[in-house]
């Protein structure tokens, strides 16, 4: 229950924007170092050659593509929370929407870097874009990599819009409350937002359209990413289940990432009053459902393969079940199901700590899942003489670590410049319930935002 005045809400949610402690700088520098190391490694990779990684024949894709799929998967957090929950009128989503959308945008950006990082000649990545070149050929639209390119760019554009549009009113709020360089900055960012009825109306329509549109885009993105694998005639890649399997896994990992982000924000920005156990509880239930769905997909695929007993597929299957990849495989099962299930199913355990722990193991487990989809199949293709193995080197580890620090850094910087909880939406929610209580009616729809502006800032509002 948020029992706060509007002034208190403003104070709490805008504090990170206006006040910077030494902890911020330390965190930024430390995380920045990880990012710099990753960039340095990438440039070294270009100059020395791709061979500094652990990629070899036949495992031509390894950590980089794993990261690619993983981060694109994480990016489905925003879509679920903002779009799906918005359309489903789940009002508890309000404090959480922006955290989620931020994850989406940054995870997508990071993920989209990997198709460039993993290229043999990355300076030519722009050849994937259809422009009239003097070589007089287009890129090959039959290639799933091209579909990736377009899908991700579309999703990124859409998510960016979806994120930044509703930030505008909050930027306007910051603008109104700041002075000096901040005022100049936020005046530019606020795009001349005046809080007029028409502007609110337009914003609301835009949000609604985006919410509807972004869902198929998100579904298509991860389906297309899954088709990078499913379209190749490789044992245990060429599976019809990959589209839905990857989308489910993406949402699964996205929610987990969101829970972790929320936990961190709650702790470091002192947002205990806003990110409440109920949010974690609800997200935890969603996570539980996705865990079960994930388990279902994995079981369905593996049972089919095992039952079918095709030799090429069985060699991949057994390598994960009992062979060299078995430790990773069973760790994944433990991380994605065996640990989260009790933590999320038992109400007493579905606390903030519980869900965060479950979410952490899930993030690890989902990373492993991507790895185990890619590498065992490439290690065991059709001709046994051509089987091989894979071991990452410091280059891949550095870049992978760099993405995690990069994500954290981006998040840190975002929270510095944008209120991480959508102020106007939160106020809208609380106002809505207050009005409801006062009027003792159940409104059929959201109240007009104008009403929020009329309120006396010092009146306490109750949130039920």
């Amino acid at each position: 229950m948020v029992t706060k005045t509007i002034a208190e809400i403003n104070e709490d949610l805008l504090r990170p924007v206006f006040h910077t402690t030494w902890r911020f700088w330390v965190a930024a520098v430390v995380l920045g170092m990880g990012v710099v190391a990753a960039y340095a490694t990438f440039f070294y990779q270009i100059s020395a050659g791709f061979g500094i990684t652990g990629i070899n024949r036949p495992v031509f894709w390894g950590f980089y593509v794993t990261n690619f799929v993983f981060w694109i998967g994480i990016s489905h957090a925003g879509t679920l929370i903002s779009a799906i929950l918005r359309l489903a009128n789940a009002t508890w989503r309000r404090p959480v929407t922006r955290c989620a959308e931020v994850i989406t945008v940054f995870a997508l950006s990071i993920g989209a870097l990997f198709p460039i990082i993993h290229l043999g000649r990355p300076w030519l990545f722009f050849w994937l874009l259809p422009y009239p070149s003097e070589r007089r050929i287009w890129p090959n639209f039959r290639s799933p990599l091209l579909w990736d390119c377009f899908a991700i760019l579309t999703y990124l554009t859409g998510s960016l819009a979806f994120l930044l549009l509703p930030v505008i009113p909050d930027w306007a709020l910051v603008r109104d409350k700041s002075r000096g360089w901040r005022k100049k900055l936020y005046t530019t960012l606020a795009f001349g937002w005046g809080g007029t009825g028409r502007q609110w109306h337009r914003l609301e329509s835009a949000m609604h359209i985006m919410a509807i549109v972004i869902i198929p885009v998100a579904v298509s993105v991860h389906t297309i990413v899954s088709w990078d694998f499913a379209m190749a005639p490789i044992p245990m890649w060429h599976s019809t289940i990959f589209g839905p399997y990857f989308v489910a896994g993406a949402i699964f990992s996205g929610i987990a990432a969101l829970i972790i982000a929320m936990s961190c924000l709650r702790k470091f920005l002192h947002l205990e009053q806003y990110l409440q156990p109920i949010h974690f509880d609800n997200l935890g239930k969603l996570l539980l459902m996705m865990s079960l769905l994930w388990l279902y997909f994995v079981f369905a695929e593996r049972l089919t393969v095992w039952y079918g007993n095709a030799p090429a597929e069985m060699s991949v299957f057994l390598s994960t079940q009992r062979g060299p990849f078995a430790p990773l495989f069973w760790t994944m099962v433990v991380c994605n199901f065996l640990i989260p299930f009790p933590l999320l199913a038992i109400k007493k355990l579905r606390t903030i700590a519980g869900t965060t722990l479950a979410a952490s193991t899930i993030v690890v487990g989902m990373w492993l899942e991507r790895f185990l989809i890619i590498v065992p199949s490439l290690s065991h293709k059709y001709l046994p003489y051509a089987w091989g193995s894979y071991r990452p080197t410091w280059a891949e580890l550095t870049i992978t670590a760099g993405t995690f620090t990069g994500m954290a850094l981006l998040y840190l910087l975002f929270a510095k410049f944008v209120p991480i909880i959508s102020v106007w939406e939160l106020k809208l929610g609380t106002r809505h319930r207050a009005t409801q209580a006062l009027l003792e009616i159940v409104p059929a729809e959201e109240p007009l935002l104008e009403e929020v502006a009329d309120l006396n800032p010092n009146v306490a509002l109750e949130d039920s």
Binding site: N309, P311, M314, S315, L318, P384, Y385, A386, W387, S389
Partner: protein, 762 residues
């Protein structure tokens, strides 16, 4: 500092252009004298001869013009010259008919090897340290002559020793004449996988002390006792061509191949049937098969010698079942198949000859051919006509023992000889030769290739010179190095010992100009002879090796010595008899045919303490180690294990399981004479009491690609010899093995899975 100085190039007569500087360095200019037949971008094809093994296959070299950075007298320059781009088999050559094996293809890397000796070298550090300084040819020649002249002057000509690999052609003739005219003993020939036992056996069985030629293309059945004839043995390309026809060259008729060996070789991998007979008992097995042929009257009995050999009770199949490990049923069946599927031919080579009873084994297998009546017939065993009657040779091992003995005498006090016991010489009538004052080495590497021959064996020799292109374990001990041209830059002539049923002489001029400041070894010898003068000068009247070849070529063929004929021979890459498909008849009845004395093998090492037979085998890529310096050969995945840049120990998987050894584990292999460590390879096709290792790695000094890599299996071999011939019995050593650690980092495999069907049950 301007590194590119200009060189003046003067072209000598013929295609061998010796490069020399002239006069004033500050006035040197580049003169690009393009080779007459080279246009930029257009390839010409020149004949040559492959010398990487003894088969003597004919080559066609694809030569294109290019710029090569060369060094002369310490100065760098750029020369436009013909560069060899690709080697192919010479389509007209009767031995290899346009085909070329993996090693032959890699011959390109000899000429362009980064670690070739580029200029004469003189030792400046302690012997064996590898410290040399570059000197000019004048200095080098003067030095060499100055060491040789005093020997003649002081009546010590007999103290000159010439150590060489076996040569078949005028090089051998030249060396022989040189030594004879000098007053020195015959050259000491050395090679690790010496075939003296087989030559002796063939002399006894067929009257030809010579490697055999098999007419596989017209055979219906072939049984090979250890001869890896599709891999490294004898004349692999010629044999492979025959094998191709043997299998699929005659519609409706497919030959059957049976392989008798304890470790499946590349040839065995192609066989229809693999019989892992116990090592050393192959001869007994052959006799048992022969006995079945005789007893069941499967072959014509005309009362001659062969039938009577098999009468003894010792070779009854029931008796040999246990010692050979081959069942009575198999022996009988093989015999019946041999008789029914004629022409059938039997071959022997490799490990069965490298036992203490190798001669017996060979004679027994040869006897099968005589019994089957296939010698000199289509589909059987024959011999390549030679320009002069071959002589029964002395084994490499005996040759080296003699050299070691000579090298260690004549000095008071410390003898630098190795720790091996010296077996008595085969021929007591031969008077022992005296000490060695000067040793000349040409492409022989006994420090690597002969067990027990250490660098110390040569320590007492005052002066050692080497003519090789590369520095290896033996030539690193030289005081003076006079580098030979690489084969493609040399006049080459080889008279193949086998591989063709018609007469062949491979003969080719240099395909390339010399890349470095090297000189052809025969030309060096000739110049030394002229400088020394007297009898030597008269005995070797030619100015260059080319002259000598030209005069000898006329004798070879009995042809009229005209310019046209010489030109044609050189264009063709050699001379071959017109009717090269006709078999050559052997002496009636076949040789002296002394009755075969059965002999049982002896092994070094007590069976309980050393439970395994140790089988070092010639590696398809590295042979006896002499091609280990070629990076293409190091990176070639061994066809049976897929290993690259590695050495390994092959162990039967059940045996390995018993000893707790897993794939890649580092194992120690120990004989009574040494031990080594290498990673284990679980090899399904090897007998449980045999372990095998490829020869070729374990070089200490042999260019950047081979040095310091792996272990040398020759180093732990026991000094066992074949009892009659005295050749090294390299398959007669027993060893023990145990796991000592993890060796996976030393075993690089190109292949992943070893089996196609999934054996793991779901």
């Amino acid at each position: 500092m301007e590194r590119r100085d200009f060189l003046k190039i003067s072209a000598a007569s013929g295609a061998t252009a010796a490069l020399s500087s002239c006069g004033h360095p500050e006035h040197q200019i580049i003169r690009f004298i393009p080779e007459e037949d080279l246009q930029p971008g257009v390839a010409v094809f020149k004949p040559s001869v492959c010398t990487l093994c003894s088969a003597g296959c004919g080559l066609t070299v694809r030569v294109m013009e290019g710029d090569a950075e060369v060094e002369r007298h310490g100065k760098l320059g750029l020369i436009k010259m013909g560069l060899a781009k690709k080697l192919e088999g010479n389509p007209d050559h009767p031995i290899n008919r346009g085909k070329l094996c993996a090693r032959g293809q890699a011959g390109l890397q000899v000429t362009y090897h980064p670690d070739r000796v580029r200029t004469p070298l003189q030792r400046i550090g302690p012997r064996g340290s590898g410290k040399f300084e570059e000197i000019g040819w004048d200095t080098a020649m003067t030095e060499l002559v100055s060491k040789l002249a005093p020997l003649r002057a002081s009546n010590q000509a007999a103290s000159l020793a010439f150590l060489t690999r076996p040569l078949r052609g005028l090089r051998a003739e030249l060396i022989a004449r040189f030594l004879e005219a000098f007053g020195a003993p015959r050259a000491v020939t050395f090679e690790t996988f010496d075939e003296t036992v087989l030559r002796h056996a063939n002399a006894l069985s067929y009257g030809q002390p010579q490697l055999p030629t098999f007419d596989l293309a017209r055979a219906n059945y072939a049984i090979s006792f250890g001869a890896d004839f599709l891999g490294t043995w004898n004349s692999p390309v010629a044999q492979a061509i025959g094998y191709g026809e043997f299998r699929q060259g005659r519609p409706g008729r497919r030959g059957k191949l049976v392989m008798v060996e304890s470790r499946l070789s590349p040839t065995g991998a192609n066989a229809d049937e693999w019989i892992p007979a116990r090592p050393g008992f192959e001869g007994l097995l052959a006799l048992a098969i022969g006995r079945v042929l005789v007893v069941e009257k499967l072959v014509p009995m005309d009362g001659n010698g062969p039938a009577s050999w098999f009468g003894g009770p010792d070779f009854a199949p029931e008796q040999v079942e246990k010692p050979t490990g081959v069942s009575l049923a198999t022996i009988t069946r093989i015999a019946r198949e041999l008789a029914a599927q004629q022409p059938a031919v039997a071959m022997i080579g490799g490990a069965p000859l490298a036992q203490t009873n190798g001669l017996f084994n060979a004679q027994a297998v040869n006897a099968l051919n005589v019994l089957l009546g296939n010698s000199g017939k289509p589909g059987g065993v024959g011999f390549t006509p030679q320009p002069s009657a071959p002589v029964v040779p002395k084994s490499s091992y005996r040759n080296l023992e003699e050299l070691i003995r000579r090298a260690s005498t004549g000095r008071a006090g410390v003898s630098g000889v190795s720790s091996r016991p010296i077996s008595p010489s085969n021929n007591p009538a031969e008077s022992p030769l005296g000490p060695v004052n000067v040793l000349l080495i040409y492409e022989a590497n006994p420090v690597f290739g002969q067990p027990g021959f250490t660098a110390g064996a040569l320590a007492q020799i005052p002066f050692i010179a080497s003519f090789g292109c590369f520095i290896d374990e033996t030539s690193v001990l030289a005081d003076l190095i006079l580098p030979d041209h690489s084969p493609l830059e040399s006049w080459l002539d080889v008279v193949p010992e086998s591989g063709s049923l018609g007469a062949v002489v491979s003969l080719a001029p240099p395909a390339l100009r010399p890349l470095h400041d090297t000189r052809s070894m025969p030309d060096v010898l000739l110049e030394v002879a002229h400088r020394l003068g007297g009898q030597l000068g008269e005995g070797l009247p030619w100015a260059t090796f080319e002259e000598m070849l030209r005069s000898a070529a006329a004798q070879l063929t009995g042809a009229i010595d005209t310019n046209d004929y010489w030109k044609k021979t050189l264009q063709q890459g050699g001379w071959w008899g017109r009717d090269s498909k006709q078999p050559i008849h052997v002496l009636a009845g076949g040789g002296t045919h002394a009755p075969i004395e059965p002999s049982l093998p002896e092994f070094d090492g007590d069976e309980r303490e050393f439970p395994f037979h140790f089988l070092p085998y010639a590696s398809p890529a590295l042979l006896d180690g002499s091609t280990a310096h070629l990076p293409w050969m190091q990176e070639l995945p061994d066809v049976l294990t897929s290993a690259m840049w590695s050495v390994w120990v092959e162990i039967n998987p059940q045996t390995a399981g018993r000893l707790n050894i897993q794939q890649g584990d580092l194992v120690e292999v120990a004989s009574r004479h040494g031990q080594l460590q290498a990673p284990a390879f679980l090899y399904p096709a090897i007998a449980p009491d045999v372990v095998a290792m490829p020869v070729g790695q374990g070089h200490e000094h042999f260019t950047r690609y081979a040095s310091g890599r792996g272990a040398n299996p020759i180093s732990i071999l026991a000094p066992m010899t074949e009892e009659s011939v005295g050749a090294l019995a390299w398959a007669a050593t027993r060893v023990q093995i145990r796991r000592v650690g993890d060796g996976r980092k030393q075993l690089t495999l190109f292949g992943g899975g070893m089996r196609e069907e999934l054996r793991e049950k779901r």
